[in-house]
């Protein structure tokens, strides 16, 4: 009951939040919402133990596919977004054949190479990808009316609500997957792939499944981004963006579902409040690199470990007080 109340309260805060922000802050809120989906999907990928450097490019695949499908074929934007997610998942499936012949460090390098090849294709082929200039004038979300609220996508606030709904549903689906026997098998593959295999788990298939699912959600986030900013090019999905995703994930920690999300939110807020105000915006990659190193050195279990510590202390306190009450 208290959980439900907390959830409702949290939802109300998320709905009210943009009204307390300036226009430019609202825009940042939209990016933050989209990035939450990126890092949450990245964690889904890391559940089976493999870390990829191609995740942002896969996100770009979703962005390009959705942009092209709506622009060239006139497909209704929300449908194009789903198809973009599907395209990203299919590309990941194709990539899984060469990539999952590798493990660990080699997988990391292989995923980076695969991503760069895709980016080269975008640059090289003006038709249909628009070359280095990318795609401009991507169709915006068409406005619609749900009775209680009119979505006018000229306003960041409307796009924020739309993105919030899409990201919320996606997170819920990912959460359900992780809590299911499929999620348990992902963890098993991560911690002891030999024992998992001896228990009849097709380890390769499960690694592929996690990769494909994560890529689908990454593609969806890319599509959300494309139809918001209206312009994408190969540099929108370069390695600098990947470093941001890695930093959010590592600083947040990957042991829990909320860890990477926490990292993304905290660092974005820090970035916007501290760096931008202080005029350090240009140095963001440098500072992110520094934060990543510092957090690996001094907080190897991520921000989530602080939350977990606080939660278990609170539970311990509760138990203690509960016991003293019982003895009294």
């Amino acid at each position: 009951m208290t959980k439900l109340a907390a959830l409702l309260g949290f939802g109300a805060i998320l709905l009210a939040l943009p009204h307390a922000l300036s226009f430019s802050q609202q825009e940042i809120l939209v990016f933050l919402t989209i990035n939450v989906l990126v890092v949450a999907s990245y964690r889904l990928l890391t559940l089976t133990g493999e870390w990829s450097l191609g995740h942002v490019v896969i996100m770009g695949v979703g962005a390009y596919a959705s942009a092209l499908l709506s622009k060239r074929l006139g497909i209704y934007v929300p449908a194009a977004m789903l198809l973009g997610a599907g395209t990203a998942a299919m590309v990941a499936l194709a990539l899984s054949f060469p990539l999952f012949r590798m493990k660990g460090f080699y997988f990391l390098i292989g995923s980076f190479a695969a991503g760069e090849i895709i980016r080269l294709l975008w640059k090289r082929f003006r038709e249909p990808f628009g070359g280095p200039k990318g795609i401009k004038k991507i169709d915006p979300m068409p406005d619609f009316d749900i009775g209680v609220y009119v979505f006018d996508f000229f306003e960041p606030i409307s796009y924020y609500y739309f993105a919030l709904a899409v990201v919320g549903v996606s997170l819920w689906v990912m959460w359900r997957i992780e809590r299911s026997p499929v999620g348990l098998t992902f963890h098993a593959v991560h911690w002891q792939d030999r024992l998992a295999e001896a228990s009849g788990v097709n380890v390769r298939a499960y690694r592929t499944l996690a990769f494909v699912l994560a890529s689908g959600f990454a593609g969806l986030s890319g599509a959300l981004l494309a139809h918001y900013i209206g312009t994408i090019n190969p540099n929108s999905f370069d390695v600098e963006q990947m470093v941001f995703v890695l930093t959010w994930t590592i600083v947040g920690g990957t042991a829990t579902f909320y860890g990477p999300i926490l990292g993304c939110v905290v660092l974005t807020v820090l970035n916007e409040i501290v760096l931008r105000e202080a005029g350090f915006e240009q140095m963001r990659p440098l500072i992110y690199g520094l934060i990543m190193i510092l957090s690996v050195l001094f907080m190897p279990k991520g921000l989530e470990s602080l939350v977990r510590g606080a939660l278990s202390r609170r539970n311990a306190n509760r138990k203690m007080t509960g016991e003293t009450e019982a003895t009294e």
Binding site: I177, P181, Q192, R194, L195, A198, G200, N202, L209
Partner: protein
């Protein structure tokens, strides 16, 4: 006589220049507890690794109910009914004891992602959980179900390894030194459980250095040394076999 359930036929395995298994042949009868013994480095674990599909043999083959299984991948061998444990406690240390056992039920209750998302796999999950709890109960681990597997004492970890394997309801189970790290009392109880398992129709292939346990449990024993078959027979025959005595006295610390 019924045909053997498992046939190891002229099996050879090499690591670079080292021949870890050298044209090894033996058969395991259905429903038997079959011991595989030999001094350290004889090739017992390597034999398990080949039979379970972790390695592909350099020569020879392994047959299960007459069907060749050597060369299949480990999960494919498992799906045909051959499940193994590992010599060094190999568990999902970061998962709970119950979750470890649940992974063992993977083949009997395969997860389905669509059913999971739609929430229509409740019956499947309940059945898997019941099976896992039953396996934990069998090995006396029920009250530890919520502990992290990595936090268990060594003897309990060995038992959990077997619970994970048995939760899969295999036809043949390969146990690699299941009694290491157990005190005599635990070993004795574990031996009783082995007999119980065998009586449910499971065939057990057992690698163990504890000669008391081996002699007390096995219907038949294969002894190997330097990758080769040294002797085969019932416990009485093996105990008094001159080559076996020689191999143990000549090469290793584990004397019966």
């Amino acid at each position: 006589m019924a045909p053997p359930i498992l046939e190891i036929d002229e099996l050879t395995m090499r690591f670079g220049g080292l021949t870890a298994i050298d044209r090894l042949s033996f058969e395991v009868e259905r429903g038997a507890i079959h011991g595989l013994i030999g001094p350290n480095g004889a090739g017992k674990t390597t034999t398990f690794n080949v039979v379970s599909g972790f390695y592909k043999p350099a020569g020879g083959e392994v047959r299960l109910r007459g069907e060749t299984i050597s060369g299949l991948r480990m999960h494919e061998v498992a799906r045909r009914g051959v499940v193994r444990t590992f010599q060094h406690s190999t568990l999902f240390a970061e998962l709970s004891v119950l979750e470890n056992a649940l992974v063992g039920t993977h083949m009997s209750f395969p997860p389905n992602i669509f059913a999971a998302m739609a929430g229509v796999d409740k019956a499947n999950r309940r059945a898997a959980r019941a099976r896992a709890e039953e396996a934990l109960d069998f090995f006396g681990l029920s009250r530890l179900a919520d502990e992290l597997a990595g936090d268990l004492p060594h003897g309990h970890q060995r038992a959990l390894g077997m619970a994970v394997a048995l939760a899969a309801r295999p036809d043949v189970v390969l146990l690699d030194e299941p009694f290491t790290g157990m005190n005599p009392e635990e070993t004795r109880r574990m031996m009783e459980l082995m007999v119980k398992i065998r009586n449910t129709g499971v065939t057990i292939l057992l690698v163990e250095h504890d000669m008391h346990a081996i002699m007390g449990l096995c219907d038949r024993i294969t002894c190997m040394s330097f990758g080769r078959l040294l002797a085969e027979g019932n416990p009485q025959e093996i105990r008094h076999h001159p080559d076996v005595i020689e191999a143990y006295l000549g090469g290793a610390r584990h004397v019966a």
